[in-house]
């Protein structure tokens, strides 16, 4: 007969214990969010501001041109809502890690048995909650202010969103790696990197609209294919699985590279004793 584990003693190694650790990290970040209201801006105010800005822009473009206006509204609002999947997933994991450096909790964590992937998993788990709140508010805002209902695009949005989620997490691993290497001075990258990725990904327009010189960079980004697939869906076409496949493959490769980079930077962090920056 299988005996019940005494919950006051440590679990044996395994998925159950990893899940327990991930939940502990996730709950810690939930406390931080709830108890410091200014951090709620990321998941409430900024998403709504973006919906207002891009929705208004679409309305302006559409003045006197009903069909063009509808298309612009679709591109801009669907684009910004799905862009927030990349943004929220990236920023949640990056700032989750930065929170440990701001509160000088990094050394406390580094000497515990938590594994790097358990920690990142815990922050990403919490990030999912932030993402649901942020993107949910955008969907409501788009509907209430501009009568734009993203759910009319159907389930085709799901695989596109999955690619964007993976890219967001991959970028956050790069950001954490850079902060480990260069210290607090590199924190601005957590926000700044998104302003580079956004225009190059063709979130609101086909990348043919970009200057010729930067198009190769755009072609190398998995997000470009995800947003190209999204525009097709907005135009009423069937989901372009080829684009989704390229995007997914690119996101997978990017994730592997990002994980390798993070592990390398963590080794360097330990070798050079950079933890003393935060102690």
């Amino acid at each position: 007969m299988k005996t019940q584990h005494d919950p006051t003693t440590p679990l044996r190694p395994g998925a159950k214990r990893s899940w327990l650790r991930m939940r502990a990290v996730s709950r810690r970040h939930a406390y931080v969010l709830v108890r410091s209201p200014h951090r709620l801006f990321d998941v409430t105010l900024w998403p709504l501001v973006d919906v207002l800005m891009f929705g208004s822009l679409a309305s302006f473009i559409g003045t006197g041109n009903a069909s063009g206006g509808k298309q612009a509204a679709g591109y801009l609002l669907a684009g910004i809502i799905l862009w927030h999947i990349v943004y929220q997933s990236q920023i949640a994991v990056s700032t989750g890690f930065l929170e440990e450096t701001w509160s000088r909790n990094l050394l406390n964590l580094m000497v515990t048995p938590i594994r790097e992937m358990e920690y990142v998993g815990g922050v990403a788990l919490f990030g999912m909650a932030k993402l649901v709140i942020g993107v949910g508010l955008m969907m409501i805002g788009g509907f209430v202010f501009f009568s734009f209902n993203i759910t009319t695009l159907g389930l085709a949005v799901v695989p596109i969103a999955a690619v964007l989620l993976l890219v967001g997490w991959a970028i956050s691993l790069f950001v954490i790696g850079v902060v480990l290497r260069y210290g607090p001075g590199a924190e601005a990258l957590a926000w700044g990197v998104m302003f580079v990725v956004l225009p190059l990904s063709g979130v609101f327009y086909p990348i043919d609209a970009l200057p010729r010189a930067v198009r190769p960079i755009a072609l190398a980004l998995p997000t470009t294919y995800a947003f190209a697939a999204l525009r097709g869906v907005v135009d009423g076409e069937a989901l372009n699985w080829a684009y989704v496949g390229i995007g997914a493959g690119g996101a997978f490769v990017l994730s592997l590279l990002a994980f390798w980079f993070l592990v390398s930077m963590l080794k360097l962090f330990r070798r050079r004793g950079y933890v003393t920056r935060y102690a």
Binding site: T8, P10, R21, A24, S36, L109, P113
Partner: protein, 257 residues
């Protein structure tokens, strides 16, 4: 007696200097050991290598027989760490903070261990306080409770009573001694308070310029360096003219490395 910590040939060199230069440390189960030395002697670097937060250039660390380099996570399960200089996460209540670390150590319900720890250090009343509301002494006490939730085989403390008033420092010492006696926990502690070390530890390792220059009981070491007490030894080693290769002024050198 089981060996809980075995560090062999630890070397760490930073850009400008060798911080740790061939340190060997062995700590047995239940043993209380102090790692002493002047500022810059390499104490904290040594502790951070033992904890796996800094990787050594050379040398190996084993915690309860588990190699730190190959299995950091498993080795860390046997260790607890607290430092007087580390704050608590500000937005969390003490209970929530301890709950998080208890679960990171794999305990699904650490409530009992939290209650015991808070009681041991007489800070039950702080359970619902936030990190930002605590004094530095209270933060240190909570940090030690966090470090022992999982009943580690080895407790590592870096400057645990720095800047604490005598009452709180006494409570810290009392709690630690009781904990070591109850659980058979080994202790490795750094401190600049020599009186505290004499009260808390049965063995002392003196570090100077990254090397261990003395290893023995506090009274033995004082005698062998020809000083009245550990403070005298400390001042002697802190003397900028002191070289680790200098012989002690005593005739006895069998335990002087």
């Amino acid at each position: 007696m089981d060996t809980v910590l075995s560090a062999r040939g630890l070397v760490k060199e930073f850009k400008r200097a060798i911080a740790v230069d061939g340190v060997d440390i062995e700590v047995k189960a239940g043993e209380r050991v102090a790692l002493l030395g002047p500022n810059g002697a390499g104490k904290t670097t040594t502790l951070l290598m033992i904890l796996g937060a800094i990787s050594p250039d050379k040398g190996e660390v084993e915690i309860c027989g588990v190699p730190q380099r190959r299995n950091r996570s498993h080795a860390a399960e046997h260790v607890g760490f607290a430092a007087g200089y580390l704050p608590l996460a500000g937005e969390m209540k003490v209970r929530e903070y301890l709950m998080m670390f208890g679960q990171i150590y794999g305990i699904p319900d650490p409530s009992k261990a939290i209650a015991e720890g808070l009681e041991r250090f007489r800070i039950q009343h702080l359970s619902e306080a936030k990190g930002t509301q605590l004094s530095s002494g209270q933060r240190t006490l909570v940090g030690i409770v966090r470090a022992v939730l999982h009943k580690p085989r080895l407790l590592v403390l870096d400057e645990p009573t720095a800047s604490l008033d005598p009452d709180v420092a006494g409570r810290v010492r009392g709690g630690i001694l009781e904990l070591c006696a109850d659980n058979g926990t080994a202790l490795l502690v750094t401190s600049h308070d020599m009186l505290e070390v004499e009260r808390l530890c049965e063995r002392v390792l003196f570090l100077s310029a990254g090397r261990i220059v003395a290893d023995g009981a506090p009274t033995e070491i004082a005698e062998r360096f020809g000083r009245e007490d550990l403070e005298g030894v400390f001042l002697h080693l802190a003397d900028e003219n002191y070289q680790p290769s200098d012989p002690p002024t005593s005739q006895h050198t069998d335990h002087i490395l």
